[in-house]
């Protein structure tokens, strides 16, 4: 099993550009999450999904969109990139909700810089 994979690993965007961060898991997990980690800080939840077709906002959803058309994939879309979105983005998955016994499995992260 590959676990949780994310692409790309690194990306530099210009202000106003758009991009999609890809996330795929092969563990048949119901829950998937997107977090951002600013330098020296913890992870903040952007969006999460409890299954295909169902998504919900986290703490910091502004400037982002998600979709969940399949169990495996949970892409994160950045529209009109801003310098404040410079961060490391982590995708994660779990079988049950993270607060209910299951650990989250994390991807390797995407380092995004907006200039």
């Amino acid at each position: 099993n590959a676990g949780v994979t994310q692409t790309p690993k690194f990306r530099i965007l210009k202000i106003g550009q758009s991009m999609t961060l890809q996330c795929t898991q092969d563990m048949n997990h119901n829950y998937m999450y997107w977090y951002r980690q600013d330098p020296g800080m913890g992870l903040k939840l952007i969006y999460y999904s409890v299954g295909a077709g169902i998504t919900d906002k986290g703490e910091v959803p502004n400037g982002y969109n998600v979709s969940r058309s399949t169990t495996e994939d949970f892409p994160l879309r950045l529209e009109l990139a801003a310098p404040s979105q410079t961060s490391v983005y982590f995708c994660a998955s779990s079988y049950l909700r993270s607060g209910g016994a299951d650990e989250q499995f994390f991807g390797p992260g995407t380092r995004l810089t907006v200039l």
């Binding site: 020296g40 800080m41 992870l43 999460y48 986290g58 993270s98 607060g99 390797p108």
Partner: protein, 108 residues
């Protein structure tokens, strides 16, 4: 919503010694799980240990153990016999909420 707070930005420990990392939380749930994750320089997040609030016994995983004080809403991580490979950021986490992290340095 649940909140998780880590008040120690940095900690250091001598190799082979014991160190305790602190975490406090707040939640309105009656049953819940808490986690400690390790993030080495590779950035990969790795689960260290988990604790169910319903269980009175503190969780233990080899050299890692927790001191869970439910009434005080405290969830600290104790690392015994510290090794150089333990150097990393450690995050306390609950339900989709993470603390700000503690950077642990291990001195040889």
């Amino acid at each position: 919503a649940q909140t998780v707070t880590q008040s120690q930005p940095e900690m250091s420990v001598q190799e082979a010694e014991t160190v305790t990392l602190s975490c406090t939380y707040d939640t309105s749930e009656s049953d819940y799980y808490l986690f400690w994750y390790k993030q080495p320089p590779s950035r990969q997040m790795i689960l260290v240990i988990r604790q169910e609030a319903y269980k009175q016994q503190n969780a233990t995983e080899n050299r890692f153990s927790v001191n869970f004080q439910k009434a005080a809403k405290s969830f600290s991580l104790k690392i015994s016999d510290s090794q150089l490979g333990d150097a990393a950021m450690y995050f306390c986490a609950g339900d989709m909420r993470f603390g700000a992290g503690t950077r642990l340095t291990v001195k040889p």
